[in-house]
């Protein structure tokens, strides 16, 4: 009996000493920012799938903006309004920021069905799942933003603000040989659209924010929902340069000085984004 109780005591000591180390963190709890990397690193596209009746979405948008503060131009944000929570509802949620491309991706990647907010980060996937919760965004971004770039993208914008005609030239320069066919996707965004938003973060505002500023909103695609293939089927080789030109009429209802173009290059198989770039209509 005594032997067994001793054994029990030893086991408990082992449990106490060995297993339950705890990391008590003392202030400051947040790290300071500072840009990471330079122009040759892989930039990151954070697609924030959101909707105006999604109560948890403002706090996710805040996380995205905090990452923008840390990584500056190396991270590009895009708010994709899609799915149930983006549908127009009773007043004041009358605005419809959905797009054909956004709805297509939302259905294809099963995002709003899994719940909003969710984000895609360079469309990387884990176990076939492409989306991440807002709490995973920062570590996921950190894990790929340090990668060396396989390609460089440049966007030349020629915009006539009277005719609202947009001429674009996107140049892709391959810094490494790709492992498969690539596609180029070109999109247009409008920043700072004011409209109603449901919210449950008291640090952001009341439950219904009538004049919420929707940031980096996807407005439409310029070359289709899935873009177009560029280069060879087997993967472009290092050193090659490909140019693509596009014409586009900017919707007169959009505030052109808030609009920007996003271009990204992605693997046709697997959808992972190789490189992404952004340029404003009016610099």
């Amino acid at each position: 009996m005594i032997m067994k109780l001793r054994l029990f005591g030893i086991l408990m000591v082992f449990v106490a000493l060995g297993m339950f180390s705890c990391d008590k963190i003392e202030p400051p709890y947040k790290q300071s920012g500072g840009e990471v990397g330079d122009g040759t690193t892989r930039k990151v596209l954070l697609e924030d799938y959101t909707g105006h009746t999604c109560v948890n979405c403002p706090s996710a948008a805040k996380v995205a903006l905090e990452l923008k503060e840390i990584y500056g131009e190396n991270i590009i944000l895009m708010g994709v309004h899609a799915g149930f929570f983006a549908m127009p509802q009773v007043s004041p949620f009358l605005m419809d920021l959905r797009t054909e491309a956004g709805e297509t991706w939302d259905t294809f990647f099963g995002i709003s069905l899994a719940g909003n907010p969710k984000g895609m980060i360079n469309r990387t996937s884990t176990g076939g799942i492409y989306y991440y919760n807002k709490g995973e965004w920062s570590s996921k971004v950190a894990s790929i933003i340090e990668d060396k770039a396989k390609a460089k993208l440049a966007i030349d914008v020629a915009y006539n603000n009277t005719s609202r005609k947009l001429e674009l030239k996107v140049t892709a320069e391959f810094l490494k040989t790709l492992s498969g066919a690539a596609k180029l996707q070109v999109l247009i965004l409008e920043d700072s659209i004011v409209g109603a938003q449901r919210n449950n973060d008291v640090n952001i505002g009341p439950p219904v924010i009538e004049d919420y500023v929707h940031r980096h909103v996807l407005r439409g695609d310029i070359n289709g929902s899935w873009g177009e293939q560029i280069g060879s089927n087997s993967g472009e080789t290092v050193g090659s340069v490909i140019e693509k030109t596009y014409s586009y009429d900017v919707n007169p209802e959009w505030v052109d000085k808030h609009c920007s173009i996003i271009a990204y290059l992605y693997y046709a198989a697997g959808y992972e984004i190789i490189q992404v770039e952004e340029a404003h209509l009016i610099p």
Binding site: K4, L5, F8, L11, V15, A16, M19, F20, S21, C22, D23, K24, I25, P28, Y29, K30, Q31, V36, T53, C54, V55, N56, S59, E66, L67, I70, F84, F85, T107, G110, S112, L113, A114, G115, N116, P117, T126, G127, G128, I129, Y132, N133, K134, G135, E136, W137, S138, S139, V141, A142, S143, R198, N199, N200, D201, V202, N203, P206, P207, V208
Partner: protein, 555 residues
């Protein structure tokens, strides 16, 4: 050559005998289930071909096999969600063997390798479990050992990673869980208490999660520990249980990355005698979401479990607004009284009358700013201060219900229930800005036993509210031919919807057949739309229309 041939024959004979002996001692159990839904367009509910999006059918299925030979057992479960039925997380899509284990059990020692489920105490610091109907599974994949050094002392130790849909555990992908629990029944260990009426059991648990910090924004704890202590005492007709849990700083997506410690207290006092049962339960939860991945919200990777203190309603309208536990903070109580008015009394009649009275209420905890310059719940801070015994005025949920069941004679019996509900739809379902739902719900459930095998059951329910989707009525008629067949028709009618275009009927027709341990059920009709919010992520459960088939069997 001949000798070798004879040796082979002898060897096969011995193996054959052993194999026969093994087969005789072996036992195999199993169960299978397939839930299928076939979707159809339904313009009235807004379900068009484009909404269905080509996914005309959802199929969830599993097969469970357990093999036992003496002290050894092994088992596996195959699952296939191809594609998952509506309302299940799309991340479920896939097929494979998510649950495989081998186990060796003796009187004092048990060891399991592979996947397993486990619960320490009430689950406040560790509970892994599976709930097929919710599509929930947070099983641990690792090793578990249980040891009983003396009678009345039980020690458990576990470590592993948790299931996250079909995503394989990889380095840095999610956390590792390690835990131990010890329970001592003093009446067994101390000879002086062996025969005492006063029984007491003490227990303690410790669980640690390890997840690397790769976050550029915060300094995050890589090892997060949670501890719990519990006591269970009984004397005569009284029983008292209490468990307290504490968790160190665990900034996560669920708590908006605050560094406050977590606490939970769960207590219950009950009294029971023939014909009477009374139970009073209280709980306080403060920042107790504990997941093996700090970035994951929603219905996955929970290490801890906060037990609900509410009646789980089984009728369609009383269950229309179910409460979801708020791990970030809540204080709740539940009182339940069950009384059987004795047979032969005026109110009891020939068979007695059952009365069940239940009240539960859950409020938010009180939160105060940590200083003048920090907002409550601000990320990267301690978040807030909270007095352990102070309750916020903010009511999340209140349910008062009374149920009377009465058997009138050998042919007729009835259940009558009334429920008064307060449901904070903004918090629980994420519909911020919407008024809390205040509803009165009443129902009657009458069964007419036609003969020894045939019976008819009628349900009539009403839900009256000025909030959310307004008033509902529901009815059901069920005809059963015991023990094999049942047929039912039912309707839920949202006649009080403020939008007249959405005053829809949700009708269903169903039939079922049972044969031994096999059950087949077929339902045709509509399912109403809803929103499910868990841990800060809301998911729309879409309205659907079509045919549902369930086939299950076990052996």
């Amino acid at each position: 050559m001949k000798r070798i041939f004879l040796a082979f024959i002898l060897l096969f004979f011995v193996i054959g005998l052993s194999a026969q002996s093994l087969l005789d001692q072996s036992r195999v159990n199993g169960s299978f289930q397939i839930d299928g839904q076939f979707y159809m367009p339904d313009n009235e509910l807004g379900i068009t071909d484009s909404v269905i999006g080509g996914r005309k059918m959802g199929l969830n299925g599993f097969g469970n096999i357990t093999y036992t030979l003496g002290n050894f057992s092994a088992g596996m479960r195959y699952e296939a969600y191809l594609t998952p039925i509506a309302g299940f997380d799309p991340a479920q899509e896939g097929n494979g063997f998510p649950y495989v284990y081998a186990s060796y059990n003796t009187e004092n020692l048990s060891v399991t390798a592979g996947n397993f489920y486990e619960q320490f105490g009430n689950g406040l610091v560790l509970r892994s479990y599976e709930e097929w109907t919710l599509g929930y599974d947070n099983s641990l994949n690792g090793l578990k050992a249980t040891y009983r050094p003396v009678k009345g002392v039980n020690i458990k130790a576990v470590y592993g990673s948790q299931r996250y849909y079909w995503q394989k555990f990889e380095r840095n992908s999610r956390g590792i869980v390690r835990g131990a629990d010890a329970e001592v029944e003093l009446n067994e260990v101390l000879p002086s208490m062996n025969t005492s009426d006063f029984r007491i059991t003490l227990g303690g648990s410790a669980v640690s999660k390890f997840q690397r910090d790769a976050d550029p924004s915060y300094f995050l704890p890589e090892n997060v520990g949670a501890f719990a202590g519990r006591v269970n005492m009984s004397a005569g007709k009284f029983n008292f249980m209490s468990e307290y849990a504490y968790k160190i700083n665990d900034p996560s997506s669920t708590n908006n990355f605050i560094y406050k410690e977590g606490q939970a207290l769960l207590s219950s006092l009950s009294y029971s005698q023939r014909g009477l049962g009374i139970i009073l339960q209280v709980k306080r939860v403060d920042n107790m979401s504990f997941k093996s991945d700090r970035g994951v919200t929603g219905n996955a990777l929970d290490i801890s479990f906060i037990p609900p203190l509410n009646r789980i309603h089984s009728y369609s309208l009383t269950g229309r607004y179910p409460y979801a536990t708020q791990p970030n903070g809540e204080m709740g109580l539940q009182f339940q009284l069950n009384y059987k008015i004795p047979k032969g009394s005026t109110l009891g009649g020939k068979y007695g009358t059952g009365i069940a009275l239940n009240f539960s209420q859950v409020n938010d905890i009180q939160r105060l700013a940590i200083n003048d310059s920090t907002a409550i719940g601000q990320d990267g801070t301690l978040g807030y201060k909270s007095d352990f015994f102070k309750v916020s005025d903010h009511i999340f949920f209140r349910d008062f219900n009374v149920e009377v069941d009465k058997k009138f004679n050998s042919k007729w019996k009835a259940v009558v229930q009334y429920m008064n509900l307060l449901f904070d739809i903004a918090t629980i379902q994420g519909k911020s800005g919407q008024e809390p739902v205040k509803a009165n719900i009443a129902l009657t459930d009458v069964t007419w036993r036609i003969n020894s095998t045939r019976s008819l059951r009628f349900e009539l329910q009403g839900l009256w509210t000025k909030q959310d989707k307004g008033n509902w009525a529901a009815g059901l008629i069920e005809y059963a031919i015991a023990p094999q067949w049942f047929f039912a028709v039912a309707d839920q009618y949202n006649y009080g919807n403020k939008d007249v275009n959405h005053r829809n009927h949700y009708f269903t027709g169903s039939l079922g057949y049972n044969k031994d341990t096999t059950r087949i059920a077929l339902t045709f009709g509509r399912q109403a739309e809803g929103v499910v919010c868990v841990g800060g992520v809301c998911r729309q459960v879409p309205a659907s229309s079509g045919i549902t088939l369930t086939l299950s069997t076990n052996f």
